[in-house]
């Protein structure tokens, strides 16, 4: 990247940061702030999913599992009296442990059968949330989940989410630009060649899956403490589908893609004032259309337009 391009990028990030931080003071209504908070939370899960689905090229359908796990673990622990930062940390640690176990058990499966196994893990989480009524109250859900002491107001929580998504973005950008990101891309592009060159492919996949799971769990925990309520629906196929759509729409294997996708998926149906069922039809149609017409996603597409034909290959994320 040239010096001027770096300067432009820094300026863009500064403007974006100023806009995000100033947002509550622009006279935006409480509802707009609520939507921005939700899309930030969803964006964290999408950033995580992008590590496996985008960079590693491993089709992972576990957002339902890990968003659900993070939400329930942190909710239950905080309701048991743990301070919220501690309960969130514990939830992330739990997600990491579960992710390592799942990855060790199933990552040797071929291609997309791993995806179906992750889907079954999600089903297990949803079924546990639904049936362990002593802990989760089953389908009634858990009300009264406390907010962290530092962010009890909606505005403060918004800033918390902006900070968390910025941190998650920085983490993914760091991974993407490090040698680890390079190895991930090598595995995505040609797994056999990567293995032949001596890369510990399996270990890298376990690592990537775990990073993804922790970010998804963070998203779930932030959701639970924001809404102050959680029910088994959070672990459903719907969470998985929405998160997958965010990543695919924004652009697999790009740092900003999942965030753009999360914003689009949260805001566009609101702007259209779509009814819930119509919204899901819209999501489905968007998923089909993106895969068929713009498989690289919006961000690389935009980048090409802005770069005025300065054609970077779609797979190059640096």
């Amino acid at each position: 990247m040239t010096g001027t391009a770096r300067g432009w990028r820094a300026a863009a990030v500064a403007v974006l940061a100023a806009a995000l931080l100033g947002l509550p003071h622009f006279g935006l209504g409480a509802y707009a702030l609520h939507l921005m908070t939700l899309s930030g939370i969803a964006g964290i899960a999408a950033l995580g999913l992008n590590v496996t689905n985008g960079y590693l090229g491993v089709l992972n359908l576990a957002p339902g599992a890990f968003v659900g796990l993070g939400a329930y673990a942190s909710a239950v622990l905080s309701l048991a009296g743990w301070p919220v930062p501690v309960s969130i940390s514990a939830a992330l640690a739990m997600a990491a442990v579960v992710a390592v176990v799942v990855a060790l058990a199933f990552l040797r499966m071929r291609g997309f059968f791993f995806a179906l196994a992750t889907l079954a893990v999600g089903e297990v989480v949803a079924l546990l949330a639904l049936n362990l009524e002593d802990v989760t109250r089953g389908p009634l859900g858990l009300p009264g989940i406390p907010r962290p002491a530092v962010a009890t107001s909606s505005e403060a929580y918004y800033y918390l989410v902006v900070g968390a998504s910025a941190g998650a973005t920085a983490l993914v950008a760091l991974v993407a630009r490090s040698d680890l990101g390079l190895y991930f891309t090598a595995i995505r592009e040609n797994e056999k060649k990567a293995a032949a060159l001596g890369l510990p492919v399996y270990q890298f996949k376990v690592a990537g899956f775990t990073i993804a799971a922790v970010l998804m769990a963070l998203s779930g925990a932030l959701l639970a403490h924001y809404l102050e309520y959680i029910d088994p629906y959070v672990a459903s196929l719907r969470t998985t589908t929405e998160t997958v759509l965010m990543v695919v729409l924004g652009g697999r294997g790009t740092v900003m893609g999942p965030l753009v996708g999360a914003l689009a998926i949260t805001l566009v149906p609101e702007l259209l004032r779509a009814a819930p069922a119509a919204r899901l039809i819209l999501y489905g149609a968007a998923l089909v259309a993106t895969i068929m017409l713009l498989p690289e996603g919006v961000v690389p597409g935009l980048r090409r337009v802005i770069g005025r034909g300065r054609t970077a290959p779609a797979t190059d994320h640096r």
Partner: protein, 294 residues
Amino acid sequence: MSPDLVIQLALTGVALGAIYALVAVGLTIVFGLLRIINFAHAQFLMLGAFLGLALYQRGVPYLAVLLVAPAMFGALSLLIDRGIIRPLLRSKSFQADTLLATLGLGLVLENGAQAAWGAQPYYFSPPPFPGVLPVGSAFLPTQSAVTVAVAAAVFATLWVFLHRTRLGTAVRATAQSRETAALVGVETERVLGLAFAVGSGLAALGGILLGTLYSTNFAMGSSLIVVAFIIVILGGPGHIPGALVASLVIGVTEAVAGGLVNPRFQRLVVMLVFLGVLMLRPQGLFGRPVGDAP
């Protein structure tokens, strides 16, 4: 715990297993030929049930419905095959692409169905086969017996088709190697279309039988599809007899676990059995060793 109850539960499980088998064999045929997982298979099942219901309510005899509706639906499914599946098959990442595209398609179909027909259940009325058959000291609803018989007839026909006809041989050859089959003159493109239509038709048939046994509603497919995926993987992807055995195992396990342990945990038991088997045999119970499949 009386032995009668166990027999009763096992019979329920066999009927459920027969429906699972139709759905899973459809899925596994599509996988065996096109090497894709059709995520919208669940919604094909649901749409097939609504199509069957519409015909039945217009006075078509039930057994004719079981024949006509899946055939109609199979033919219709070719639109999806041509419009969505085939264009994606050329890409290097076609497995992920088709899975995600059909996931989106399923979302459109399911919520479209909800918009069209609401969330309420519909019933085949009057029931085509009311009454029960005594089996020893237990009782089997006649509809369950019909379900099992229909599934058995379908699988027998499928076997004869695949193993005793020229076209069936072409299908098996294409499943083994698309290139080699094409070299010896098989029109593989048409064989893939046939496989997709047959697979979708089986989903529709499973849907009609499920809808008759229980009820027909917009979400009936998605509540069953993860189990169907599990059966396909347990049986070894693309392996028809494997899918049959796995269906019966899962159907009976689910019914017995539901009856003896706790209905709330039956799905959980199935998931845990599945995940446990996968850890030990990632290629499924009957699948070829990992790395062997194309």
